[in-house]
């Protein structure tokens, strides 16, 4: 059976777009970057089968496809009809005619400098990132609470891959016993403030990264000032008091926290997105007595463990900044280095949570049902 693809002129296409057709540009990213239909979605022809489900989940939605002249969009339209889409139109006209007909148009923006295009080329090749995603990373501000074991891998990889601004909160100096796992620092930095040592290492990896040094210990008085300017908080602290203080301020200011904790051979990681998923107090309403929750300095920790957990935290940061994929919001991931196993449990928003529950003074009107809901 042959399928009839509905082809339209540029004038008709402009009218359809005004009527609410979703405009899909099936050209390549390089063509898109030289200027594109304002409001269109980029979906290169070769990616149509794999990504159309994300771009247009509703197979009855009105879709207007275009390319440079109408060849590729005709093929993409045929593919969509084959996949069951019922309202697909292809513009059979040079794209210049769209502009002449007064169709909405966005002139090219220089998202990345030539140097940035070279440095980040392996990342911008990924369809979910591209130059626009890389721009988001470069514009992002991420705060690392602790420039120690968990902060080290995050600082290294977040700066290397182009997170534009990295804040370091730490009031410690580098000690010999740190070096087995805190790979942001080295023997030539003994006695140096960790924020200064961290800045030096980051500069070496990526001179473009803006490093903001906060050589202080996070407490109830400074927490809101410290986190206010950042988009994502990476929690690599070492005690419960700080974690609860950070949690409550992050809920109030609606900042996502990527949580990591480590003990000997075991690590835990999750992501807290205020009011969309549970917070730290929902998960652990009551802290254990000290003897059941010793710090690394007391209990010991495997050198590679914060590497594994810190890298998973960095991965969460990327998805939060890019707005893609599934984060760990609502899930606690547990890593056992001794058995090399990952386990996962679901964690819930607690309606009775003093920080983010129904009675929270910071909550927007509750849109969730009264029962706990996973995200």
């Amino acid at each position: 059976m042959t399928t009839e693809i509905r082809e339209v002129s540029a004038a008709e296409a402009v009218a359809l777009a005004r009527d609410g057709y979703h405009v899909i540009d099936v050209r390549e990213p390089s063509e898109w970057n030289a200027g594109h239909v304002d409001g269109a979605t980029l979906l290169p022809l070769n990616d149509v089968p794999s990504r159309i489900g994300d771009v247009a989940p509703d197979k009855a939605a009105p879709l207007l496809l275009h390319c440079a002249v109408g060849g590729r969009s005709g093929r993409a339209a045929a593919k969509l009809v084959e996949l069951g889409y019922t309202n697909v139109v292809s513009m059979k006209a040079p794209l210049g005619h769209w502009k002449e007909q007064g169709g909405p148009w966005e002139e090219p923006r220089q998202l990345l400098t030539p140097a940035q295009q070279r440095r980040y080329s392996r990342q911008t090749l990924i369809p979910e990132i591209g130059q626009e995603g890389q721009r988001k990373l470069l514009d992002a501000k991420v705060l690392l609470i602790g420039a120690g074991a968990l902060g080290s891998p995050s600082a290294l990889y977040l700066s290397a891959s182009g997170i534009g601004t990295i804040g370091l909160v730490d009031d410690d100096v580098v000690e010999e016993s740190n070096l087995q796992r805190q790979v942001l620092h080295g023997v030539d930095r003994l006695g140096m403030r960790k924020v200064d040592s961290g800045e030096l290492t980051i500069r070496g990896l990526n001179p473009e990264t803006v490093v903001v040094k906060h050589a202080e210990r996070l407490n109830a008085d400074n927490v809101e000032r410290l986190i206010a300017d950042y988009d994502v908080i990476v929690d690599g602290t070492d005690n419960f008091d700080t974690r609860y203080i950070l949690n409550d301020a992050a809920v109030k200011l609606r900042k996502p926290i990527v949580h990591g904790s480590i003990y000997r051979w075991d690590g835990q990681i999750t992501t807290f997105v205020p009011f969309e998923g549970p917070c730290y107090r929902c998960m652990y309403p009551v802290q254990p007595p000290e003897e059941l929750a010793p710090a690394c300095s007391v209990a010991g920790v495997l050198g590679v463990l914060p590497g594994v957990i810190g890298m998973l935290q960095s991965n969460e940061v990327f998805k939060l900044v890019l707005g893609v994929g599934e984060t760990l919001a609502g899930r606690l991931l547990m890593f056992d280095a001794m058995g090399t196993t990952f386990d996962e449990v679901r964690i819930w928003r607690d309606p009775a949570c003093p920080a983010c529950g129904d009675a929270s003074p910071h909550a927007a009107p509750i849109q969730q049902p009264a029962q706990p809901v996973a995200v």
Partner: protein
């Protein structure tokens, strides 16, 4: 037999074992069996006969707080996870 995962901080009370196989049709019965095998654990994670609030309990991946608490049913192939918060990160 169902399996209880022992968190790292409590393994000194199970002779280093990371898991303990137990019998019992509910979480409470399974914990009773666990405490019978490793009596020192009872004092560390219960107060006045109740499980301490700082220990989260999951049956498979579900928190029993949002099911039937300690009365939550446990099947033969189920895994019970005991999970106190961990503190470490930086130092």
């Amino acid at each position: 037999m169902s399996t209880i995962r022992i968190p790292p901080v409590l393994r000194e009370n199970t002779g280093g074992s990371r898991t303990v196989d137990v019998t019992g049709g509910t979480v409470a019965e399974a914990l009773d069996d666990l405490f019978g095998r490793h009596p020192a654990l009872r004092d560390r994670v219960t107060e006045d006969g109740e499980l301490s609030r700082f220990i989260n309990v999951y049956v498979n991946d579900r928190d029993v707080r949002y099911r039937d608490g300690l009365d939550t049913a446990v099947g033969a192939d189920d895994t019970i996870i005991l999970l106190p918060a961990m503190a470490g990160g930086s130092h």
